[in-house]
Amino acid sequence: MSRKNKPDILLDADVVRHFLNGSCLHKLSAIFPNRLVMLDKVKNELCRSKSLTTPITNFISHFKIPVISFPTKTEVIREYALLIKQFGEGESACMAVARFQNHYIASSNLIDIKAYCKQYNIIYYTTMDILVIAMNKKIMTEKECDEFIKDVKAKGSKLPCDTMKEYLKTKNL
């Protein structure tokens, strides 16, 4: 699928962190070929942790993930200024840009973004959604996904289920 046919997906920090902790960051690009982009604000947020600077920089450079500057359009800046009062830097930037530039979002931060995305018809993928897509595309097996969930949770992150079976059951998939 070419970048021109489908909207870009803005990577939020949580999803990147999950895939990094699940040792599957390299698979993200295969799951969404030519669609992933990262806002400079998200990159900066991730790279505030010294330990993440090298893996994030390598990921961006190896998979040629475009890092896009935060837009200078007044409407986006105004929206961001409103969102940042309540949300984190990266997620606020993703939501503001997605709203006005018709991008999708890859964010695991459901409580923060769900209502907003619904209000403005923004399509979003959570970490679990991405695992389901990865399974369907046979990029990851169910066992690999379960290992991923285990590893990510072991590092202190939150995911709604312990196994893919459990998740698919809750979603009636």
């Binding site: 939020d12 920090a13 949580d14 962190r17 947020e45 505030r48 942790s49 010294k50 330990s51 993440l52 949300f87 984190g88 830097e89 990266g90 997620e91 964010s107 695991s108 931060n109 409580i111 923060d112 992150s157 939150k158």
Partner: protein, 244 residues
Amino acid sequence: MPNNYFLQKEASDFRLRNGIGACEPIRMKSWLPKLGVMAMFKPMSDNFSGMAIKHSDYKFIIINSNHRVSKQHFTIAHEFYHLFVQKDFVYEVSNAGNFDKKNKVEYEADWFAAYLLMPEECLLSLIPKDELSKNKIELTTIIKIEQYFACSRRALLIRLDAMGLIDFDKYEKYTTGVVRSAELLGYDTTLYKPGNKGLVIGDYGAKAKKLFDNGIISESHFISLMKDIGKDIENLADDNEQEE
């Protein structure tokens, strides 16, 4: 010095209100959380001792960690005046310990701090009888007192001068070589050196964690909030140390 009975009373009431004994040295690190004050210690330029902000029930201070720990204690007590005594206080950038009469509020905050940290009765109890007349106080006594109250020598000398026990001019020489003088008597010198850089006291982290645990903020937002207070929680030591 003008009549400061009002400030003495405020300092004494502050101790009473918060259950601090009349002769008890104030251990700031213990009392800050109890008083609901969040404190951050950051290196800053020398002419900036601290800052206080009050917003409804939230009280926040920043302290210059480049200053000696003893001066930091004085600054904290100074900020207490802004936060707990001054009417309609919102925020103030402070240069504590100047006792500058030209700035009424800062002057009052300095004296409040002096009274709060070094209550008169307690000070008197720490001075040997034969030193209780003008300019008789020995350096060893001064060091003993400043160690007890964890206060700066300069602040202590100003306080003793105000009590009529010394002429500050005669004792000003003791404001140099402070570390050495304490070391010669075998005291720990932590008090006289800069410290606490990066320290955060308060429940900011606990509140942020609670928001994350309750799903109100995202993981990234939580990590980012913790980084704002200098805590890189992505690089925490992964050990299983056991308290003995």
